[in-house]
C-alpha cells in the first residue's frame, strides 16, 4: 500500500432551492426584522471613485423563459483594479453584491462601479470584468461566469482567448445600451448558451 493523501473532499453542493432569498436576502422573501438590512445590498457607497454603471439582464432557462427565482452574487475590484483589502483600494467599494431576478419580470439590476483591469498570476492583464455566481432551484451547483464590457479592449483577455468557438465569447460581453448602462442576459442552455466557468 502506498501512503494515503491527507486531503478532505469538498462538501458536495446542493441546489439553493426556491427559497434561497430567506437565507441570503430575507427582505426579498418577506422576512423582515431579523437583520437590520440584507447583506450585499450594494457593492459601492457614496463617494466611490470611477464610473457608476447599471447592468440589467435576465437569466433564461433552456426554453427561453426568464427565471423569476434566480439569485445572483457579484464580486469585483474597484475602478483602479484593486480588490477590497488590497493596499490603496477604494474604501467606498465593498465589491460584493447580492441581487435577485425580479419576481414579476425576471429582470435583475446591478448598480456598481465599473471595475478596473487586474493582472493574472503570469502578469498578463485581464480585461475589466465582474465575477458572477448564479444559484436557483434546479441549479445543482452554483454557476460561475463573468461580465465583460463591449466598450473595453477585450482582445487580449486570457480567459476570453481560451474560448475556442469565437462567437461564444460574446456571451460574456455586456452590451452598452445607453450612457453607463449595459445589458447582460444569461442563457443557461440552448442557442447562445452562456460560457460557464470551472475556475
Amino acid at each position: 500500500m502506498v501512503q494515503t493523501l491527507d486531503m478532505l473532499p469538498e462538501t458536495p453542493s446542493q441546489t439553493a432551492g426556491p427559497y434561497v432569498h430567506i437565507g441570503c436576502i430575507p427582505t426579498f422573501a418577506g422576512v423582515e426584522g431579523v437583520y437590520p438590512e440584507d447583506l450585499g445590498r450594494s457593492p459601492v457607497q457614496t463617494g466611490a471613485k470611477g464610473q457608476i454603471i447599471t447592468v440589467r439582464g435576465l437569466v433564461l432557462d433552456g426554453t427561453g423563459w426568464a427565471m423569476r427565482d434566480a439569485m445572483l452574487e457579484s464580486w469585483q475590484p474597484d475602478a483602479a483594479g484593486l480588490f477590497p483589502g488590497q493596499p490603496g483600494c477604494d474604501p467606498n467599494v465593498s465589491g460584493f453584491c447580492r441581487f435577485a431576478a425580479d419576481k414579476t419580470s425576471g429582470e435583475f439590476t446591478l448598480r456598481t462601479v465599473k471595475p478596473g483591469a487586474v493582472r493574472n498570476r503570469d502578469g498578463v492583464l485581464q480585461a475589466p470584468h465582474i465575477s458572477l455566481w448564479i444559484v436557483a432551484r434546479g441549479i445543482n451547483t452554483g454557476l460561475q461566469t463573468r461580465i465583460y464590457f463591449e466598450d473595453e479592449d477585450n482582445g487580449s483577455d486570457p480567459l476570453l482567448l481560451r474560448i475556442e468557438q469565437r462567437p461564444r465569447a460574446e456571451t460574456l460581453i455586456a452590451r452598452k445600451t445607453a450612457q453607463a448602462e449595459y445589458r447582460f442576459d444569461v442563457r443557461l442552455q440552448g442557442a447562445g448558451e452562456t460560457v460557464f466557468l470551472d475556475i
Partner: protein, 242 residues
C-alpha cells in the same frame, strides 16, 4: 491578500450532476456545453470578508431571532454545530455561514411557499454566524419539518437545513443542504439523489450528537463543511516557462 494562492480545481465528480431527469427543474436549468476550465485568478482568489459588525447577538438563534427574543419558535429544539475546513483539513476562520429552513411544520416564510402547513408567528427561518479562529460555528434552531413539493406526483423533501458558506475566496463559494441522520426520506429524494457518489451524499447527513446536546433543553447535530483549498507551494509566481 498579498499572498494569493491558486484554488485547487473543483472535483466535479464529487458534486451533483447538473441535469437529472428525476429532478425536473434541473432539465432546463443545466448547461449542456462543457464548462471552461482554467486556473483561478485574483478575481476568484479574493473574496468578500464580513466582520462581527455585520452580526447581531441573536443572528445564530433561529428560535428567538424572528421575535427578537420575545417568544420562542415552536418545534424540537436543536443545536447544529461543526467546523468549516478546507481540503487540507485546516480551519477556515472568520467566515460567514448562513442558514435557512422551513418551520417545524415544513412551511417556509416566503412569498412563494403556498403549502397549507401554518406559519409560526415566531419563526422567520434564517440565521447567520461567523466561524471562530478554529473554524467552529453553531446555531440554535428547531428541527425543520419534511414537506411535499411539486416534482413527481408525491415527492417529499427530507428534513433539511440550507447552508451558504463563503470561505475567503469567491471561488470557494458553496451552497448545500444538511440532512438528518435516520430520515427515511433522504433515500427517496430526487434532489439528494443528484449526488451520484453515495459516500459524498453521506457527508451531507448530520449525525445525532448526544454528547453535545443539553439535558432538558436541546439535541445536537454535527455538520462539518469542507471548502475548496488553495495550492500550497513555494513554486509560485515564476515567470512563464521557467
Amino acid at each position: 491578500m498579498t499572498d494569493l494562492k491558486p484554488l485547487l480545481p473543483r472535483q466535479r465528480r464529487l458534486h451533483p450532476v447538473a441535469c437529472d431527469p428525476d429532478y425536473k427543474t434541473s432539465i432546463t436549468r443545466s448547461p449542456q456545453l462543457p464548462l471552461l476550465s482554467l486556473e483561478s485568478t485574483p478575481s476568484e482568489e479574493t473574496g468578500p470578508r464580513f466582520g462581527h459588525g455585520h452580526i447581531g447577538a441573536l443572528d445564530n438563534n433561529l428560535i428567538l431571532n424572528f421575535s427578537q427574543g420575545s417568544a420562542p419558535a415552536v418545534g424540537e429544539r436543536i443545536r447544529v454545530h461543526g467546523r468549516v475546513l478546507d481540503e487540507h483539513g485546516r480551519p477556515v476562520p472568520q467566515t460567514l455561514v448562513e442558514i435557512w429552513q422551513a418551520n417545524a411544520g415544513g412551511r417556509y416564510r416566503h412569498i412563494k411557499d403556498t403549502y397549507f402547513a401554518p406559519l409560526d408567528p415566531n419563526f422567520g427561518g434564517c440565521g447567520r454566524t461567523l466561524t471562530g479562529d478554529d473554524g467552529y460555528y453553531e446555531f440554535l434552531t428547531i428541527r425543520p419539518g419534511a414537506y411535499p413539493w411539486p416534482n413527481r406526483v408525491n415527492d417529499w423533501r427530507p428534513m433539511h437545513i440550507h447552508f451558504s458558506v463563503f470561505g475567503h475566496s469567491f471561488g470557494q463559494r458553496l451552497i448545500t443542504q444538511m440532512y438528518f441522520e435516520g430520515d427515511p426520506l433522504i433515500d427517496r429524494c430526487p434532489i439528494a439523489a443528484t449526488i451520484k457518489d453515495r459516500s459524498q451524499l453521506d457527508r451531507l447527513v448530520a449525525p445525532l450528537d448526544m454528547q453535545n446536546s443539553r439535558s432538558m433543553d436541546y439535541l445536537a447535530y454535527k455538520f462539518d463543511i469542507v471548502l475548496r483549498g488553495h495550492r500550497q507551494s513555494m513554486f509560485e509566481n515564476r515567470p512563464e516557462g521557467m
